[in-house]
């Protein structure tokens, strides 16, 4: 048996599917390609696929991950293109790598994510001021609901980096690095923390990182991207994203 880790992106119309939808789409696609999936035992056997952090309905991503088990090895060289061709427009597999047996699950290894977040609902100077105030604040309390329970939490520690990147059509582009553990913060919660009159526009996850002795490491780095520093050009949609947009329109 072999374990694989898949990195994929999600752009365009298909961003309106849910995490569960994506899981179903992936599973069907693996079967379409006749990948030798490993099935669970029991009454209702399911293929062994584990998904990383959920991506909200409507959000795009350059860096989504899943792990899957296969009975026999497959050609990893051609697999990404084969998968992309079989997936709906907007879902693209960027890379597939073999995993060491006993590797930690995706949910456990990710410590933070980098996001491009478009802010709507206020002029750029208002947004810039709100960002500056939040970055300067030692603490910031937010009422939020998790699992049906409402609590007031200091979310400031989950905001690792926050920066205004520039204007968009009708909004302001932010770059945020948000923790996923111990305390996690979602982009929608960040927007609410910045101001109740603000709305989120396009949101795209550009990186998921693990922590290796203080350095941020991607589970699967792509060629041409650097783990440790973030290229400012990255803040706009990537070529792949623009292509997906064109295809969908």
């Amino acid at each position: 048996m072999i374990k694989l880790r898949v990195r994929y992106s999600r752009h365009g119309r298909v961003r309106f599917t849910s995490h569960r939808d994506t899981a179903r789409i992936m599973e069907r696609t693996f079967r379409k390609l006749r990948l030798p999936l490993v099935y669970s035992e029991g009454f209702s056997p399911r293929p062994k696929i584990s998904f990383g952090l959920a991506l909200s309905v409507g959000h795009e991503s350059e860096a989504e991950y899943l792990d899957l088990d296969l009975v026999t090895p497959v050609d990893l060289e051609v697999l990404p293109q084969q998968l992309t061709a079989a997936l709906p427009d907007g879902l693209s597999v960027e890379a597939v790598v073999p995993l060491e047996p006993g590797s930690t699950s995706l949910q456990q290894v990710i410590t933070c994510c980098r996001w491009n977040i478009e802010i709507l609902g206020a002029p750029p100077d208002v947004v810039t001021a709100a960002v500056a105030a939040l970055v300067a604040a030692p603490e910031r309390f937010l009422e939020r609901e998790r699992k049906g329970k409402s609590t007031v939490v200091d979310v400031r520690p989950a905001i690792l980096e926050l920066e205004v990147m520039g204007p968009t059509d009708g909004g302001v582009q932010l770059m945020a690095i948000l923790a996923t553990e111990v305390l996690s913060l979602r982009p929608s919660e960040l927007v609410r923390t910045l101001g109740t009159e603000l709305r989120e526009g396009r949101v795209c996850r550009t990186h998921q990182w693990t922590n290796a002795d203080g350095a941020r490491i991607e589970p699967i780095p792509l060629r041409g991207t650097s783990d440790l520093q973030v290229d400012k050009a990255d803040a706009s949609l990537s070529d792949a994203a623009r292509l997906a947009e064109v295809r969908a329109s």
Binding site: F16, T17, S18, R20, D21, T29, L37, Y39, G58, A248
Partner: protein, 648 residues
């Protein structure tokens, strides 16, 4: 053609399940808008997750898109949250492929599979920006067409639609396309001329060419033709051979969760079991089987193309398919050989008399899905009246087979409110359920039965079309009887359909054109998505009925007489009206009728009238035999039959 996508997109993140509105399904056609083509918008007037799997809609969508002179998109009723956005932002109803406004199509064709979607039909027409009454439309408005089982009594919605299409759609959609093309080539700018052209296509009914007549005391007397040269009756369309129509070839695989989320392959159309309550069985005659080899090919290609791991072999009674057991085995062998992994086969609409250990064993090889049987009535007397001649022993053998093969829960469907039903018949349901649980507990201590109770709604073109529906309080009383009877039965779970919704369905099923005012009224008072319990309010219907000067008594509860005109008399499903009346009298006399697939023809009219025949591969009825012939009720015995040739 334009697109509403730029207006729509910013709102999608704020509505529930926005994947309903993005299209992008595997199998979707993206034939570019082109004014030279005849454009169809196939619309299901309920939520995407209910409408997308509809096979009829998918078949016609493919057939139209295969034509060089036509194209088709699809549309579904937007959920109420998006509807609010659309009304506020002035976004019209749109297609999911190109987000083209609905009124830019030549034809908006609705699939009507359930009467309670009628208010959604009106809402969709209105959202398209088209006047809801056909009389108010102009040349620039799309033609509003309807097809599907409900259209066998289109009178309640007749004023809202331009054209009603009866029966199988495979051939007629092409003929309508031709008719539109030929009208275009004349350079006519008369909508009425277009309708006249379409009215000449067999199976097409243009309601505005007829006017209803009523007696002074408000009784429906019939329809008067307003235009010369109309056919005497509008006959339904029937395709002679299903083998010629292997559709859908590319079943749509949605990105988001829908009902029946699996591969569906239709194994035969039509049913001649002759269950007297069943409209589908009456209006889709004769039986036309798909060749087993074609079924296997369609399943194999479908699984490989979609990646589904479940296939449903659909029909009105799948266990009647000739050689069903080897077909299921073949499907599983094919899937394994093709490396598709473990595939489960589900057989909906299983008759208990045809379900044995062999089929049970086949089905449980892969993932085990739910198992549902429909004995329909609790006593043999009642089952004779409805002509569903399955014996108690048949049911017990079937559930025994199921539990012995590892099923823990079996679902049983029953109807209440059937003609001449007594409390003894109703309580017979509880008795059957109790005995089924006892059988199950021999195999599994936690065996249970879910009993699902529906209120019977008499439907047009059935022997029960003259029967006065049980009142809502009467149905509720029967439900209470069953609830009390099953309360202490361990392992019996009772579920029932709201009798008030059954009442509303009755209004829409057998009403005449005066129901249009009621449907409009319910819609104007916010009554959309009436199939959804959370949106259904019976008072909206009752108040609307009162405002229209109609009564529940007259439309729903009253028994019809042999002489009186029925609102659907202008239409024909091939069935002779005197055949239906004789069958109604036989029902009341508790006399069964054999399945004509394996016994001599009794001339219901469906074959003889259209010069077509059954297409059945096996001369031998499945286990359980051909019902009603006396000698064949013991499982598995063959009866003498006339073998009918394939039509081609």
């Amino acid at each position: 053609m334009s697109s509403v996508w730029p207006q729509l997109e910013p709102w999608l993140a704020q509505v529930q399940k926005p994947a309903r509105y993005i299209g992008c399904e595997d199998g979707a056609k993206a034939k570019a808008p082109d004014p030279a083509l005849v454009s169809w918008l196939f619309t299901y007037p309920d939520a995407y997750e209910i409408g997308l799997p509809n096979q009829g809609l998918q078949i016609l969508y493919e057939i139209i898109n295969e034509r060089p002179d036509a194209r088709a998109d699809r549309s579904y009723a937007p959920w109420i949250d998006l509807e609010a956005v659309m009304r506020a932002e002035e976004i019209p109803l749109f297609s999911v492929e190109h987000h083209t406004p609905a009124n830019e199509f030549d034809v908006i064709a609705f699939n009507l599979s359930a009467e309670l979607t009628y208010t959604n039909l009106v809402n969709c027409i209105d959202l398209a920006g088209i006047p809801i009454y056909s009389a108010d439309r102009s040349l620039t408005d799309a033609l509003v067409m309807v097809g599907g089982h409900c259209t066998f009594n289109p009178e309640p919605i007749a004023d809202f639609v331009d054209v009603v299409v009866l029966g199988d759609g495979e051939e007629v959609v092409g003929e309508i396309t031709d008719a539109i093309m030929s009208w275009r080539s004349t350079g006519s700018s008369e909508r009425r001329e277009l309708l006249r052209t379409i009215a000449r296509v067999e199976g097409c009914y243009v309601p505005s060419f007829y006017s209803p007549r009523y007696s002074d005391d408000g009784q429906f007397l019939g329809l008067d033709a307003l235009v010369a040269d109309l056919p005497e009756y509008i006959e339904k369309r029937t395709i002679a051979d299903l083998a010629e129509w292997p559709y859908p070839k590319e079943q749509l695989t949605p990105l988001t969760e829908v009902v029946h989320d699996r591969l569906n392959v239709e194994v035969f159309r039509g049913c001649t079991r002759g269950c007297r309550f069943c409209q589908a069985g009456m209006i889709t005659r004769p039986v036309r089987e798909r060749p087993a080899e074609q079924v296997r090919t369609m399943v194999r290609n479908g699984l490989e193309r979609t990646g589904y791991d479940e296939v449903s072999l659909t029909s009105l009674s799948t266990a009647d398919f000739s050689g069903i057991a080897p077909t299921v085995t073949g499907i599983m062998d094919d899937a394994e050989a093709a490396g598709c992994g473990q595939v489960s086969v589900s057989l909906p609409s299983l008759r208990v008399d045809a379900f044995g250990v062999d089929i049970a064993a086949q089905l449980q090889k892969a993932k085990r899905s739910g198992l549902t049987f429909a004995p329909e009535a609790g006593t043999w007397r009642m089952r004779q009246i409805i002509n569903k001649l399955i014996r108690e022993e048949d049911l017990y053998e079937a559930v025994d087979a199921a539990y012995s093969q590892g099923w823990q829960r079996v679902k049983l469907y029953f109807l209440i409110g059937l003609p001449s039903e007594t409390d003894e018949d109703t309580l017979g349901i509880a008795e059957l359920a109790k005995n089924c649980v006892a059988i199950g507990r021999k195999h599994n201590k936690r065996a249970s039965v879910t009993v699902s109770i529906g209120g019977f709604v008499p439907k047009p073109f059935t022997p029960f079309q003259w029967f006065g529906q049980n009142t809502a309080p009467e149905l509720q009383r029967k439900i209470n009887l069953l609830r009390d009877a099953t309360r202490r039965m361990h392992g019996v779970n009772l579920k029932w359909h709201d009798p008030k919704a059954t009442l509303a369905e009755g209004l829409a099923s057998r009403g005449d054109r005066r129901m249009a005012a009621v449907i409009e009224d319910v819609w104007r008072h916010g009554g959309t998505f009436q199939e959804w319990t959370e949106f259904f309010e019976v008072d909206r219907w009752l108040d609307a009925l009162e405002r229209a000067g109609l009564t529940v008594e007259d439309v729903v509860y009253r028994h019809r007489t042999e002489q009186e005109a029925l609102p659907w008399d202008q239409l024909s499903a091939g069935l002779h009206k005197d055949f239906l009346w004789t069958d109604w009298e036989d029902a009341l006399a508790e006399v069964g009728l054999p399945d004509c697939r394996w016994t001599p023809c009794y001339d219901c009219g469906a074959c003889t009238g259209y010069g077509i025949e059954h297409v059945v591969a096996s001369a031998t009825p499945p286990a359980g035999g051909s019902q009603g012939t006396g000698q064949d009720l013991s499982s598995g015995n063959a009866v003498p039959v006339q073998l009918l040739e394939r039509s081609r």
